[in-house]
């Protein structure tokens, strides 16, 4: 019985200290610990966040109704219930609002290059592009510029891949390795490939280049040219001269006018513009 009374007393003591945190009764020393104040109680309501609606405008076109012109469709999304990246928003819209919204995506971590698109005027990967928390401005999402559109945000990259294939992006040798086993490479020579091999061929840079917009058929574009450079300066490759010879014409390389949109927009922080300038210098010296 004494146990229960003391238990009641302690219970009332604790409730009194919680309910009257500021007022200390002169008879009872209130145990004012910060942890007891912060601990959730049965009476507390979960913090209700006001919905934060962001307007998202997305380019739409349906190949099933090809005569209809492409349009901008507006969606409203509560940012408090959505992940931080643009890809999270797109997936949420597709799941909850409009299942017909079409886009490419895969790794969701910026390494596959599938979700490359034009976000707020610049070409980046949607999965590593943070949504601007300012809800007074709409978020504009377009497909990669000046590309043939298969559907909504999906561009036709066939020609881009064919251009990549045309530069023969593999090791080519006239003689095998000197010891007959491994293609040895010094550390300095390997360093030359840093900043070149990390390209994920997302096509952000090529489709940001106005020269590629106007001459897509014949101009190779920064992505492909950077990879051509990557093979030219690989110490193990022996076909450097031939690779440069293939670019000795008005269009393949020399449509580049150093506009530098490519380096600005690369989502992996690479510098295709620099690589192209290096190729030009090498070719001028040959």
């Amino acid at each position: 019985m004494s146990f229960t009374l003391s238990a009641l007393k302690t219970a009332s003591l604790s409730t009194r200290t919680r309910l009257m945190p500021a007022v200390g009764s002169p008879l009872i020393r209130s145990l004012q610990t910060s942890s007891s104040n912060n601990m959730a109680t049965a009476t507390d309501q979960p913090l209700k966040k006001e919905p934060k609606y962001k307007t998202i405008e997305i380019y739409r076109w349906n190949p099933d109704t090809p005569t209809e012109k492409p349009r901008l469709e507006t969606y409203k999304l509560d940012l408090n219930t959505c992940g931080p990246m643009v890809l999270d928003a797109l997936i949420k819209i597709k799941n909850e609002q409009d299942p017909t919204l079409t886009f490419r995506r895969s790794c969701r971590e910026g390494i596959c290059g599938s979700c490359a698109m034009n976000i707020e005027g610049g070409n980046t990967l949607a999965c590593i592009s943070k949504i601007d928390r300012d809800i007074t401005k709409p978020l504009k999402i377009y497909p990669l510029p000046h590309m043939n559109i298969v559907k909504d945000l999906v561009p036709d990259l066939t020609h881009f891949y064919n251009q990549y294939k045309s530069i023969e992006p593999y090791l080519k040798q006239k003689q095998g390795p000197t010891d007959g086993k491994e293609n040895l490479q010094s550390i300095e020579d390997r360093k030359k490939l840093d900043g070149l091999y990390e390209c994920i061929l997302c096509a952000c840079c090529s489709t940001s280049c106005p020269s590629y917009w106007w001459n897509q058929e014949e101009y190779l574009g920064p992505a492909v040219l950077m990879q051509a450079y990557r093979w030219m300066i690989d110490s193990r490759d022996q076909f450097g001269v031939e690779r440069r010879d293939k670019l000795q014409n008005k269009m393949s390389l020399y449509r580049c006018h150093t506009i530098m949109n490519c380096s600005k927009t690369c989502p992996k922080g690479l510098a295709p513009g620099t690589a192209i300038a290096e190729i030009k210098l090498m070719m001028a010296k040959e």
Binding site: G121, H146, N148, T258, K264, L281
Partner: protein
């Protein structure tokens, strides 16, 4: 089993066969898996597929570019370089042609007439004319030097592109003010 395989081979090679129907299922030996052979429909052949793709590709729209791409120092300055180059070059060419054509039009173009015309003109018109000619000329000159630096693979990373870009814009303002004050 061998019998059905050879039958299937003949069906596969027989593109012109439009209707191949196995009626005598009872004739096939017991215990052999029956293949329900459907004709290779014309729409699924590789030629038909690529023809379908060709038709689809014809109607595809081109995604917007100039209208939606973010205004950036990079392509704006490059566009301005091209425009000022064409403008300054074109104006110089027209002036040269004008100089050649002037006598036949009855206009005298020599030092004396040019000096008197300039003296008669109001100050505002003179300043405006000087600024209009000087700005694209100075911009194109300074940006041209920037281009030459790029061709030597200098200042190619984005930080330097922007630094030199702002330097060219600043230099244009200074240069124009100087030339207009002469």
């Amino acid at each position: 089993m061998l019998a059905t395989r050879s039958i299937l081979k003949t069906v596969a090679q027989n593109h012109t066969a439009s209707k191949v129907v196995f009626k005598n299922i009872a004739a096939a030996p017991m215990g052999v898996r029956h293949f329900n052979v459907s004709p290779i429909s014309k729409a699924q052949s590789p030629d038909a597929e690529s023809e379908l793709l060709r038709q689809q590709r014809k109607v595809r729209p081109v995604s917007p570019h100039l209208t939606i791409y973010q205004p950036q120092l990079t392509w704006y300055m490059s566009g301005l370089h091209r425009v000022t180059g064409a403008a300054v070059g074109g104006a110089f060419y027209l002036a040269a042609m004008g100089y050649l054509a002037a006598p036949s039009l009855g206009i005298t173009v020599d030092t004396a007439s040019m000096v008197s015309a300039a003296a008669a003109a109001p100050v505002a018109a003179k300043v405006l004319a000087k600024v209009t000619v000087a700005t694209p000329f100075v911009f194109h000159c300074l940006n041209g030097i920037r281009h030459l630096a790029w061709d030597a693979t200098k200042f190619l990373n984005i930080k330097d592109v922007y630094k030199t870009g702002y330097a060219v814009i600043g230099g244009t303002v200074v240069g124009t003010l100087y030339l207009a004050s002469l």
